[in-house]
Amino acid sequence: MPRMTYREAMRAALRAALASDPRVFLMGEDVGPYGGAFAVSRGLFEEFGPARVRDTPLAESTFVGAGIGAALGGMRPIVEVMTVNFSLLALDQIVNNAATLRHMSGGQLSVPLVIRMATGAGRQVAAQHSHSLEGWFAHVPGLTVVAPATVDDARHVLAAALREPDPVVIFEHAALYPLEGEVDETATVALRGAAVRRRGKDVTVITYGGSLGKCLAAAERCAGEGIDVEVIDLRALRPLDGATILASVARTRRALVVDEGWRSGSLAAEVSARIMEGAFYELDAPVARLCSAEVPIPYPKHLEDAALPSVDAIVHALRGLGGRRG
């Protein structure tokens, strides 16, 4: 199986989508000659031309709304919002239009729109450029929200999203772009459903996106201490795959949710509440959360590191859960 970076996998997915379906086009800020803020679309403008790889003005609300309109008009637009931070300017279109049009029209209209955006902190870009708002999007009925955390998922999730007749939001954690991994080029992956990335019997860690790698590293460290950690990658943030979570927790009886979002009102809270509702009587200890500190993310590395979930902190939390059994 070929190895590539997460960035290359995303680019390969874009290229394949553009090549295979004439209705697909990509639009966003500097996706063209610049190659995308994270160099994801580099070369695609040259390959597919300005009609299908479209640079937009800085007008997030309008180019996202234009994506909705183009989807209504029969196209399969992929809209890149450079980062989730700027998506705040487009939330009206996403929440009030993309997510509602099907229902509000009594099922007459579909919005087969794919929105991609980079998310997350960890690159010292300070308070206005470090949001992790995946949980907000996961709150909205009518949207499907996914967060590919592996190179293989980065390669395949876009095709799955484009098969949907309704809007899909793809979150790409910016720190993952240089990540290398293997890709099964022939696979078809499902858009929804969590994946168990590591089997373990003592405690379940539930996470997604940019935190998966940290959790796997923490699990390895815990293995050395005799704690056998199961790691679940949510993959889809809406709908959540409750069955996979509950089945795991029913076995391990302990769970930690790791989420780069701010703690209060986090997606991690939803996961905790679901476990409360679905596995309360199986639990040996309260579900714990490890989230970001409730602070606008500061610029200096030592403060940013302290604000975000770290491998050390995950290991510490796992030890605290008393996952060592019997």
Binding site: T56, F63, A66, G69, A71, P165
Partner: protein, 324 residues
């Protein structure tokens, strides 16, 4: 311009007027709820504009869209049933007054967030441009929407990409209770078109023939690949912003003055003066429209409610076995 055509325009306006008068009545009777924004006084805009557009064109409108829907040819019964919230409504009752849709007639809403429809219209036009279809996307919006950032953004994007959008600003001089001069530093809305490098024109929105002419010409230019255009249609709403509006912000006298320019009376008067309509003709038209309205109400009254079990329908497209 044949007499038939003129009488058709009169009929189109009258259908809207009588439909909405009945809707207001039904609202008072507790048959219709939520927000109800009437178009009374502005009928010349919808009737004239829709007469000038082609069936393959896209139409996008606001929460004040009953007039556009009817002029587009949506069945009055389905519209009334939508106001009632019945399953036979044009949006299956899900939308109510603010959210009329009719995919088959390319009537794309029914948008209730001011300004939010403009980018969607640009996108519809983009789809047509990419697919090589010669369609116009006509987008109705109010003077209030001009202040929203999405207005400027959408004009710029449409002009930059030379997309076939016809921006139809219904300038009724008020955004809710805020007069144009109290929300716009530059009250010449056409000046905004120029600043986006787009042709713009002011039209008398109380004159249905003027509206039809201007929209026809603009649509032809847009359809021919000339890029987007903006028309500012000067009009006035005779009633409150919505059913709840005590109209504290404008004088009775101002309203009465504008009522003197009622587009329906104006056209009827012109037809009479020209001998193209007589009392009998007008009565027949009124009777015909009254019957249609009565039938629409009867249809809405008789229509069944959506069963409560359907609540979660259409949030997502149901899985079909071999999709995609």
């Amino acid at each position: 311009m044949t007499p038939e055509h003129e009488r058709g325009l009169l009929r189109a306006m009258l259908r809207i007027r009588r439909f909405e008068e009945k809707a207001a009545e039904c609202y008072s009777l507790g048959k219709i709820h939520g927000f109800l924004h009437l178009y009374v006084g502005e009928e010349a805009v919808a009737a004239g504009a829709l007469a000038a557009l082609a069936p393959e064109d896209n139409v996008v409108s606001t929460y004040r869209e009953h007039g556009h829907a009817l002029a587009r040819g949506m069945p009055m019964g389905a519209c009334m049933a939508e106001l009632y919230g019945k399953a036979a409504g044009c949006s299956r009752g899900r939308g109510g007054s603010m959210h009329f849709f009719d995919a088959a007639r390319r009537f794309y809403g029914g948008f209730a967030i001011v300004g939010g429809l403009l980018p969607v219209a640009v996108g519809l036009a983009l789809a047509d441009a990419l697919a090589g279809r010669r369609r116009v996307t006509a987008c109705f919006f109010g003077d209030g929407a001009v202040a929203e950032g999405e207005f400027s953004e959408s004009l710029n994007l449409a002009a930059l990409w030379r997309l076939p959008v016809l921006f139809l600003c219904e300038n009724n001089l008020y955004a809710m209770g805020t007069a144009l001069a109290r929300h716009q530093a530059q009250t010449e809305i056409v000046a905004k078109a120029a600043s986006a490098g787009m042709p713009g024109e002011v039209v008398d929105g109380m004159d249905v023939l003027a509206v039809e002419r201007a929209v026809a010409a603009a649509a032809e230019a847009v359809r021919g690949g000339g890029g987007p255009r903006l028309l500012e249609l000067r009009t006035y709403r005779f009633r409150g912003h919505s059913m709840a509006d005590p109209e504290l912000y404008r004088s009775k006298r101002e309203v009465e003055e504008w009522k003197g320019r009622d587009p329906i009376a104006a056209l009827a008067g012109r037809l009479r003066a020209g001998g193209r309509l007589d009392d009998a003709g007008l009565s027949a038209l009124e009777a015909e429209v009254a019957a249609e309205v009565a039938a629409a109400v009867a249809f809405a009254e008789a229509a069944p409610w959506e069963p409560v079990e359907g609540l979660l329908d259409d949030v997502h497209t149901p899985e079909v076995p071999c999709r995609g």
